[in-house]
């Protein structure tokens, strides 16, 4: 039994919690009971999985780390006459129910995040109890729970006995039909225009409230004995087609963006876009393209061609894993840069160490490691703004004209400025990046499984690597003495050295460092540092504005502008 549960991947305490058992005395679950339990448990697991999938699909713009979605009623945020069961989804009334003073409500665990754009939940009336005085709606945190939703300020409800809507008032307005046992009532909050409408058995009843405040919680209230309702926050398919309603609003918002007036500055608009594109090309040292583009759009390039080519050369070296040469070239071309910036130098050297392990660094390669050719090419490249098609097709067309390494570098480097070096940190994340990493891992395994050996398999190279490691260790100590502790540096070095602890570093938990995609942040940081010495921006304006747009969206989410839900930056980067 326990084994089964373990294999499912969950600990028992959590399992008990989910299945609604309270094993205070830490009793072990009996075996005959276990089978039933397991079935219930797997059912709940399945339900949870479906819930997560549905919520992700409905509200992709919500960052649940910041603003978790409501998933159940809160056992802490309810009046004592309310009882919860079935995973805190079923609500029943357990008071006297004699007067309106016996009314009781419960709120969901979390308020509705604005980044939903459109939020929806349903409540099924299991039993109307004695009088069916049930209210379904929304309320802000702190609103009295000894009341039905709608009666107080910042509280809104639709009541089953008379079909009236209550907008922060003790007297209702005629709104819709009454509802009773067996009916499914839905409540939809539109966070774009701050309105709310209800549905009954899948039919929209029309707007009930306007000018809603932000951060409302799904709320239900009951008032007479026997009243029981079940909530559906996404555990099951909804009766009402909410996705169709969301489609309409997505289209509306996108039409609004498309039709956004540029006004009389139209001429400037075009010039500005051209400037942004040109500066982007220059930043990433796509010299030929930048030159051609500047020529055809009649612009001046603010950096000398030679300088761009220098940066290009260094980037090429970093991205192909030839760190030693990259460092040397940098020192040659920009003599004081690394001297003044010891942390950067340290980072480059740590990377060099990793490349040595990898067998790609020039110092070990010349000692008879793997064929440099296979390493020069750069597998598992990240996608251009996560668009897989672009990379594949364009690299093909380029290859016919230019040499392989350069092309790949130019293309692969795209995402650098955007993803890793962005101090704004707008890339929403670990998730998208994680996918890239996985795919890269897959590539590596496929291509290099048979020939993957430490430092390319050469004994001399291993010795050189170990020596280099010692140098690195002493540089680290030197740095610490001179400039104090630096946890980032320390961790970097520790992670790099950990590679040696495994017989197959590539498939070890720290093996990700060997992935070529890890060259990108290094490359980007170095590039930015060089540009800074020339008094050029660390980041190209294009990446900056993309970052700003993304940042703006997350700011909108925080300040309660729901339209951010339907305007993902990714939708426009294709």
């Amino acid at each position: 039994m326990y084994q089964v549960l373990k294999e499912v991947g969950l600990d028992l305490e959590r399992a008990n919690q989910i299945a609604g058992f309270h094993t205070n005395n830490k009793q072990k679950i009996g075996v005959p009971f276990a089978a039933v339990f397991l079935i219930n448990f797997l059912d709940v697991c399945y339900q949870e999985k479906e819930l997560n999938q549905r919520l992700k699909r409905l509200y992709p713009a919500v960052n649940e780390q910041e603003t978790p979605l409501p998933r159940s009623w809160s056992p802490k945020d309810k009046f004592s006459y309310i009882g919860l069961s079935q995973n805190n989804l079923r609500v029943h009334y357990k008071g006297h129910g004699k007067t309106p003073k016996d009314a009781a409500s419960v709120r969901a665990t979390h308020p509705i995040p604005a980044a939903c754009g459109v939020y929806y939940f349903e409540v099924k009336i299991i039993s109307k109890g004695r009088d069916g005085y049930m209210g379904i709606g929304l309320s802000a945190q702190g609103v009295n729970m000894n009341r039905l939703p709608g009666w107080d300020k910042h509280s809104y409800g639709y009541h089953g006995d008379d079909g009236h809507s209550f907008c922060s008032s003790g007297t209702g307005q005629p709104y819709g039909p009454t509802f009773t046992t067996g009916d499914v009532i839905g409540c939809c909050v539109n966070l774009i225009n701050n309105t709310c409408f209800y549905t009954k058995n899948g039919h929209s009843l029309g707007i009930a409230f306007t000018d809603l405040p932000p951060n409302l919680y799904p709320t239900v209230g009951l008032q007479t004995p026997g009243e029981v309702v079940d909530a559906n926050f996404g555990q099951h398919p909804f009766v009402f087609d909410i996705e169709d309603y969301m489609r309409e609003w997505r289209t509306k918002i996108q039409a609004q963006i498309d039709r956004f007036p540029i006004g009389e500055r139209e001429g400037e608009w075009q010039a500005m876009i051209q400037k942004m594109v040109a500066s982007y090309l220059v930043h990433h040292s796509y010299c030929a393209t930048a030159e051609a583009f500047a020529k055809s759009t009649d612009q001046a390039v603010h950096e000398e061609l030679a300088s761009i080519k220098n940066r290009q050369k260094i980037q090429k070296l970093v991205l192909s894993g030839r760190m030693g040469e990259a460092i040397e070239t940098t020192q040659q071309l920009y003599p004081s840069l690394l001297e003044r910036n010891q942390d950067l130098l340290f980072m480059l050297k740590v990377r060099q160490f990793i490349e040595m392990v990898n067998g790609t660094d020039s110092e070990v390669r010349c000692l008879g490691g793997r064929s440099p050719k296979s390493q020069d090419s750069y597998p598992g490249s990240p996608r251009l703004f996560n668009s897989p098609v672009h990379k594949a097709s364009s690299s093909q067309t380029y290859q016919t004209e230019q040499n392989n390494a350069e092309v790949e570098m130019e293309l692969d480097h795209f995402s650098n400025g955007v993803s890793e070096s962005s101090s704004n940190g707008f890339l929403n994340g670990s998730s998208t990046h994680g996918i890239d990493l996985e795919e890269c891992d897959g590539d590596m395994v496929d291509s290099a499984q048979s020939k993957r050996q430490l430092c390319g398999g050469s004994q001399a190279a291993i010795e050189r690597m170990i020596q280099f490691g010692r140098e690195l260790q002493s540089m680290s100590e030197h740095l610490r003495r001179e400039r104090g502790k630096n946890s980032a540096n320390k961790k970097m070095l520790k992670d790099a050295f950990s590679l040696l602890a495994y017989s197959d570093p590539w498939s070890s938990p720290v093996g990700y460092q060997l992935d070529s995609i890890q060259r990108e942040p290094v490359c980007s940081t170095l590039n930015s540092a060089i540009l800074e010495t020339h008094n050029l921006p660390k980041q190209p304006p294009l990446a900056l504005s993309v970052g700003q747009a993304a940042q703006c969206l997350s700011l909108m989410a925080r300040t309660g502008s729901g339209s951010c839900a339907f305007a993902s930056v990714d939708d426009y980067l294709h």
């Binding site: 039919h203 029309g206 169709d244 489609r247 997505r250």
Partner: protein, 681 residues
Amino acid sequence: MFGVTIIPTFLWPEIATSACEVTATSRHYVDRLFDPDPQNVLQGVIDMKNAVIGNNRQKANLIVLGAVPRLLYLLQQSSSSLELRTECAVVLGSLAMGTENNIKSLVDCHIIPALLQGLLCSDLIFIEACLRCLRTVFISPVTPVQLLYTDPTVIPHLMSLLSRSQHTQEYITQIFAHCCKVTHSSFLGFLTPEHQTVLFNHGAIQNIAPLLISPSFKVRMQALKCFSVLAYENAQVSMTLVNVLVDGEQLSQVFVRMMQRDKPIEMQLTAAKCLTYMCRAGAIRTDDNCIVLKTLPCLVRMCSKERLLEERVEGAETLAYLMEPDIELQRIASVTDHLVSMLADYFKYPKTSVLDHDLKHAHELRQAAFKLYASLGSNDEDIRKKITETENMMDRIVSGLSESSIKVRLAAVRCLHSLSRSVQQLRTSFHDHAVWKPLMKLLQNAPDEVLVMASSTLCNLLLEFSPSKEPILESGVIELLCSLTQSDSPALRVNGIWALMNMAFQADQKVKVEIVRALGTEQLFRLLSDPDTNVLMKTLGLLRNLLSTRPHIDQVMSSHGKQIMQAVTLILEGEHSIEVKEQTLCILANIADGNTAKELIMTNDDMLQKIKYYMGHSNVKLQLAATFCISNLIWNEEDGSQERQDKLRDMGFVDILHKLTQASDPNLCDRAKTAMQQYLA
């Protein structure tokens, strides 16, 4: 004044010269069509093409100067180069894009057969040019659609061209969508699906269905429109449509996808129409999810303020049509998105405007709203209450009844009729707003379809509990109703006699006399032999109402006894339904209740034999009515009851009554026992 005269003097010569110039250049264009060198002709046509684009005056000029016959000639000549023929078709297409007058001239020059002939050519570019021009001509309201069907080979050929290109698909489906008209035959009184049948028989469904998933939006849209006109009121087409699969998917599901809220409104609305028509034709159940959860909400959305006026009109009309026969759909619609109050906005469009098309929009909106209200309220009392409680609703109906537009008047009276089925509304809002007044006015001089609705509404207003009954009586409505009974339309005859029947129910002697006088016995007996059973039933109902309470019975029978007895005999002897015979026996029972009128039966042995026969009939209802009649005849407390009892005993009625006391039907059994007691007392 001075300034006003000056300005035209300055302008006039200028306009005149420019007009002259245009005519001169136009003539030049036409002249070039007659050049002996084919190369020059081609260049001339191309120049002409460039000259007419977007220039309506140039188009009119060229038509006046006779360019069309020449272009058609060049187009039809097999000696013309393909390029020339194509350019000719393009210019003709351009000319057709002008005013309606242009289209008329083109049609008069027999452009349609010429272009249809051109479709037989194998060159796709030329075919597309011809089709494009044909499309423009056929979608004009001035072109007679029949021209598409004159040559029976045309439709199959068009079907075969559907596979050629996206353009042929777009143009052909657009032609079909505009040329598939359901004509209302006033002689036959129903719709003739002639065009639908022709297209259906030539495989329109199989050929057009795949176009619903075409990559081209225009093609998808026109194909969808085709299906909406094909399915309208056509069970054969609708039944076929439900079984069609498009790329493995059911057609109804394809339509449902087209109603998604991010699709263009035109597409949502047309897809909703298709499903509505399929549902009304019986191909989709009214409780099917694609109707209840998709089509109905989609149509309600089309009524929202956010939509264009035309969309709101079409949405409301289609929704009214969808739910007309189904109370469940009416109930759902009545609570969907505040539809009832949303419709009130339809009346807020300006009623008075200087612009003609504004007025037309206002009319269209109002009639659509009335239609939808009528449909919503046709069955459910709560919905009717909700409608009448909508702001100014009754005032709006009252003013709608006297609007200039017939369409609005008809829709308003339909709405009123629907609401008049409510006892409560008849007692309250109908009386408060004196709706009978405009209704009476409407009845004076109106086309038949309005009359049918208005008179039917009047029937309800004349029900005994309706407070409007009195004022209507006083307004002299009897003559009007009597004239309706003489109408050729069975519906009007029924309504006329029905209203009279309601009027006579528990009425004063004065009113009854007036009815009999105004109707005339001759007309009354003519109605008793009416071929329409409804008319017959209501006429018998009127007679029965006239013959109630003893003094009235004797009074009516003393003046018309002979004819009435004749009519009763005739009906009892004729081939009629049980209901008719029952009603007739009830009349006889009423007669038997009179003091003097009784004798008309007692002295008529033939009639007594008939009653005896019906007492032994296999149908309980008839037995009951006949027994009731006898019971009245032998009732103890009246003069001469002893003689009647004796006579009837001699005729063997007591034996029959005795037998009936053993009847299995409790009512009949009771009735027979009561009658028997008259003998025992």
